[in-house]
Symmetry: C2
Subunit: 170 residues, 2 copies
């Protein structure tokens, strides 16, 4: 068992021993979803004030709305959320490369077969070059999608990994 797996088991023992929230229901109590980046420096519950049971939290590389669309549709259409809080962040890895760079890294590290798999899946890494613009682009994408009704409230934000602040963009 790896050190990380041991940590999951030890944490589980401790966390469950004082756990009191076993009666929470499936649909988020406050009917919203937060979409943010997978970045290790973000703790959405603490930084954005999410109590257990209140909101769906979707996280992927770059807080991409395009990549998150499946989860967003499920959240809204099947589980009743009516508001989206989209949060990208300073220092995001997605600002540091382009698709061709990532394809090059995969080829060098994993070989031609891995690149074939990327191509077979039409995998777009969805990097971006300007942070605030990317927030606006993603909010625009969601507002334009027929899969997100106009009744859904959408806001776009930037979390600053240097200060712990979250500022509104749109």
């Amino acid at each position: 068992m790896s050190a990380i797996q041991k940590n999951v088991e030890a944490t589980s023992e401790q966390y469950s021993s004082s756990f009191t929230k076993g009666d929470l229901v499936l649909p988020p109590a406050k009917k919203y979803l937060v979409l943010t980046c997978m970045d290790a420096r973000i703790d959405p519950a603490q930084a954005f004030g999410i109590e257990l049971g209140d909101a769906h939290v979707i996280r992927n590389a770059g807080a991409s709305a395009v990549d998150a669309l499946r989860s967003i549709v499920i959240s809204e259409q099947l589980l009743g959320t009516t508001e989206i809080v989209l949060v990208k962040h300073t220092g995001c890895g997605m600002l540091t490369f382009k698709n061709e760079d990532a394809y090059g890294v995969v080829e060098k590290s994993l070989g031609a077969e891995a690149v074939e798999e990327l191509k077979a899946k039409s995998l777009d890494f969805l990097p971006f070059s300007h942070l605030d613009d990317a927030v606006e682009d993603d909010v625009r994408f969601l507002k334009a999608s027929k899969l997100v009704p106009d009744s859904v409230t959408i806001s776009g934000w930037v979390y600053e990994v240097e200060t712990g602040k979250t500022r509104r963009v749109v």
Copy 2:
């Protein structure tokens, strides 16, 4: 401004006022990633013992490895993670419907144009019918992918929303 947006702003004030982790670097310190569900009843940091800066956290509907592949490749190939902890959970919404049900809900709620958009994007909601099997399937998918090298350690778990416990499946 909605109540949820006000909560983000108020939390930001408070969180940043005592924030001391502004020097954390981009790559996860403990070189691992956690993939879990967007479900509102999961707090990955608390339940799985993730300190700020230690691990990427990817979340989507059902903790789908297929859906998360873009983020996983970025995490490993560009940001140096070498271990995956995949956690699905009891009471998951993905156990409660099939693709055709979701398409039906979208059509009834949002109309034919929305269904056209689903079809144009070939959107598969990726539901599953058995929890432990789905964990095993996803671990198998990752192990079979050329995009995840054999050197990456992968474990699969189930978090129990009723008890706060996390148990190993594979």
